[in-house]
Structure formats: C-alpha cells, structure tokens
C-alpha cells in the first residue's frame, strides 16, 4: 500500500497527525513505508493537489475525500470528526477507518487524488 503524508511546516498539527498515523499503522499491522512530503510553496501545493496540512492518502485516496476538493493552498486543513466537531487533526478513528477501507478496496477502483 502507498501511504502519503503531506504537511506544511507552518501548521502545528503535523507532528501529532504523523504520530497518530504511525500508531494506526502499528495497531493494524501495516508495515508499508510512509512517504512524507513537505509542502513549502503554492507551486508545491498545486503539484500535490494539497488542500491543507496535514493530508493523508492511502493508495492515493484522501482520508476525508470531501475535504480534498478544496483548492490547493498553504493552510491548516479542517477536518470534521465523527462527533461533528471541526478540528485541525483527523482522529485516530478517522485514520483507522480510512486505512481499513483502502485495504478492502481493489486497487483498480481507487481514484487518483493527486499524489505526486
């Protein structure tokens, strides 16, 4: 599985987001490498179709696809959690659910959401 973690340094949520991703991967027994990309410029953001920091993709599919439709930007990303709250971070459960969905989806039906 291809796992992408994209972040913008100015947004302080990325260390915790990466820690959560690592925890979920460990819990789920996934040993694939995390491809970490630092997005520094608007050109980077457009090239990666980066809607904000942090962005996590499993086999190219965004953890919260509805949030991935935003224009490429150097910004903190807004997540809506299971409880309906707005947060700069995806919850552990959101990451876990997206990972499990990706593992159960045949590769040929997955969508490319811009992983460079």
């Amino acid at each position: 599985m291809r796992i992408d973690f994209l972040y913008w340094e100015d947004c302080p949520s990325h260390p915790e987001a990466l820690a959560r991703l690592r925890q979920v991967l460990a819990d789920e027994g996934v040993t694939d490498e995390i491809h970490i990309a630092r997005v520094d410029t608007i050109d980077d953001a457009q090239r990666h179709r980066f809607p904000g920091s942090p962005t996590i993709r499993f086999d190219g599919v965004d953890l919260q696809p509805e949030g991935a439709q935003a224009l490429a930007a150097l910004t903190c990303r807004m997540y809506r959690t299971e409880s309906g709250r707005l947060s700069p971070l995806p919850t552990i459960e959101m990451i876990r659910r997206a990972l499990r969905a990706a593992r159960q989806t045949p590769k040929e039906v997955r969508h490319d959401t811009g992983t460079a």
């Binding site: 100015d10 947004c11 302080p12 949520s13 910004t75 903190c76 990303r77 807004m78 997540y79 959690t81 709250r85 707005l86 947060s87 700069p88 971070l89 919850t91």
Partner: protein
C-alpha cells in the same frame, strides 16, 4: 517582539464587522479586556470558536469584554476578507466585536503570531495572561487546564493568574 506580561495595552482603532470603529478605550469601564487575534479560515479558531463565544456570554455580566481582531492577508486567504468576516460574525451571532486589521499594524505592534492568540488585560490594562484558550482544542470535554477561564477568575477576584503565559496554538498570521 511579543508584548510581555505586565506591559500596557497598545491602543488601536479598527473597523468592525457591525459598521462601527472600535477602540480599546471604548471599554475603559470593563475590569478585564481581552484582545484576541482571530480569523475565519483557521481550523484551530473553528475548534475553539464556540468556547470563546460561551466564555464571553458567561462573563459579560462580570465586566469581561473580548475584542477579536483578524490581521490575515485576505488576498492570499479570501476566506479572511472583511466581507467574509461580516458573514461569519452574523452567522455565529458573535457576542464580541470582530475587527479587521487590514494594515496588520496592530498584530505587528502586539507581536501576535497565531490565531487564536489571547492577550488579556486587567483594569489598569496591564497584560496578565497571554496564550491559548485552554489545553485541548480538540475536545472541550477533555480540557484539563482552562487557562483563559482561570485567568479571568483570578483577575476578577484580585489574584494573579496561576498560569500567565502559554504557547499560542494555532495557524500562523498570514502576513502580506
């Protein structure tokens, strides 16, 4: 450089979303004045927004007044335009004035760097608390240290805040 504890409030006069021009001296009768750097687009602001509204409503009768200021560059971040600020303030029925620091001079004068970032002043308008609203932006029910509420209670009862400074946690202010 960021305004230091015990330094004086820096005066400002800025346009508000309700059409007024708001200056700090309009609230000279208030025992506590909070100058809060804010914006529309930041998810940290969104995460704390309802809590800040609740604190303002809860403490208004005790003379606490918050003034929110957005200094972000709306060219880079259109969600932070003055028009968008007006829409948000009305939609959320903000119980505090929401001001637009278009020149960014106020943010620079305070040395603000993040949204949200609170500067809380006592009756003499000396800075007594600076930092984040509390220690858990994600879950209001899991807050262990309600920094802002504790500082308000301290100032309203003539005590020093037990925690006077915390690292502001949020999005960077978007400079031109």
């Amino acid at each position: 450089m960021t305004l230091a504890l015990r330094e004086r409030l820096i005066p400002f006069a800025l346009p508000a979303t309700d059409g007024r021009t708001i200056s700090a001296d309009m609230y000279a009768d208030k025992p506590v004045l909070g100058v809060v750097f804010w914006c529309n687009h930041c998810p940290y602001v969104k995460a704390w927004e309802d809590r800040m509204i609740a604190v303002q409503r809860e403490y208004a009768d005790r003379g606490v007044q918050f003034v929110l200021i957005s200094s972000n560059d709306p060219v880079q971040y259109p969600d932070d335009s003055f028009d968008a600020m007006k829409v948000l303030a009305q939609k959320k029925a903000y119980p505090f004035p929401y001001l637009f620091d278009e020149s960014q001079e106020v943010a620079r004068a305070y040395g603000a760097t993040r949204t949200p970032e609170i500067f809380l002043f006592d009756r003499e308008r000396d800075l007594r608390y600076h930092g984040a609203p509390d220690d858990n932006f994600e879950n209001p029910g899991a807050v262990q240290a309600p920094y802002l509420r504790d500082a308000l209670e301290a100032l309203l009862t003539g005590r020093d805040p037990a925690t006077a400074e915390t690292p502001p946690k949020g999005c960077t202010i978007k400079w031109k």
